[in-house]
Subunit: 226 residues, 2 copies
């Protein structure tokens, strides 16, 4: 049983080969930009290379000069987002939030975490859409996603949770259940924000929504004042 070199390792290795945007041709950047647009709008399989070429203002041959297959474009689009979630230089954001955990209350930490993640999602809306979309069908992408979002964050979160239970700030529940609760709330926050823009849900600002969510996460919806 030779465990594959852990997904994150593999991912990071792959990413090192990735060109930096600055050392791309104008046309190459256009190809990526067009791909992101089309993949997000109609999905990977429904977008043809001829469409991409057209949208990018480029000959179809040029696409295959830079990417050896259509799937290669998908990976080039998706990998950077994955990295943003996983790689140290952004995970650092999360790490920094966690770092001063002794000085901050759990509720402060989670509030910052939610704020931070919402911003990240908003800044990469289309990419994330593509990522989730294709994670359904491409094993590599799904595994990388799980490895980064979960395995990456989970360990840190678990340490924090256990520390805060120790201190008595959190109830002694199974860590796994607490982790799930935190993540569920976050997903709900982002999901509702994206999917619903009815008056009902936009009457509160982002920060108010976050505050409410954290309040409920910590205190529940039940009434204990009696």
């Amino acid at each position: 049983m030779n465990k594959p070199p852990t997904f994150v390792e593999g991912l990071l290795e792959y990413v090192e080969e990735l060109k930096d945007e600055s050392e791309m041709t104008e046309k190459q950047r256009n190809i990526l930009r067009a791909s992101v647009k089309l993949f997000a709008e109609k999905g990977f399989h429904a977008s043809s290379t001829s469409e991409i070429a057209k949208e990018a203002g480029v000959a179809e041959g040029t696409i295959f000069r830079h990417y050896k297959s259509k799937k290669d474009i998908l990976l080039a689009v998706v990998a950077p987002v994955l990295v943003k979630f996983a790689a140290p230089f952004i995970l650092k954001d999360v790490r920094e939030i966690f770092k001063e955990q002794n000085k901050k209350t759990f509720s402060q930490i989670v509030t910052e975490l939610y704020r931070n993640r919402i911003d990240l999602v908003l800044a990469n809306e289309k990419h994330i859409r593509i990522l989730l979309q294709e994670a359904f069908f491409h094993d590599e992408i799904r595994e990388a996603l799980i490895a980064t979002v979960f395995t990456g964050v989970k360990e840190m979160a678990n340490k924090l949770i256990e520390a805060k239970v120790e201190v008595g700030e959190l109830r002694p529940l199974p860590t796994q259940a607490v982790f799930r609760a935190i993540l569920s709330s976050m997903i709900g926050l982002v999901l509702f924000r994206q999917v619903l823009d009815t008056d009902e849900f936009t009457q509160f600002s982002d920060d108010e929504q976050i505050a409410l969510t954290v309040d409920i996460l910590l205190n529940g919806i039940g009434n204990h004042s009696i």
Copy 2:
């Protein structure tokens, strides 16, 4: 501003035209079965009609005898699931759970609700996968999904929430935030169950997971015993 005849109305109308499985030909059922399998495995766009025909053991022409386009097959696959979530005869399940709300505690009601929804998801795994998948790109499907899952359930849920706040069983939080919390927990429950089958998450039975989730939903993860 002529409001469209409400999505649910339109949906139910459409569904009435839908043939019952019993009045389908053997071959027609095979076509649906094959489509579900392929769509779930590789997605709508990546599945070709020739593949479907092959998988169903049917000539390609036969497919178009029953469905006037490929997209028609998708709708035929997806509509029944939508109905299961929305239409009275199953929404009844939810309604019954809510009905005796005076006699039951909120925690009992939510427990039953979660149990019920998890079973529904498990029983229709592939269909739901297809539904979510294609909701990304087909406006009609997404709107129908939102209309059924949200608009349908929301009103009932809101009444329940407000009633339980009145009684003092729940804190007087914005109804919308409470609704979101309930839904988020449920989504988290199903999502983790489906995506992760690590030891860590399977060490508790479904019912234990539900109980934990409801506990956290009601009481939060914070420690108030001090």
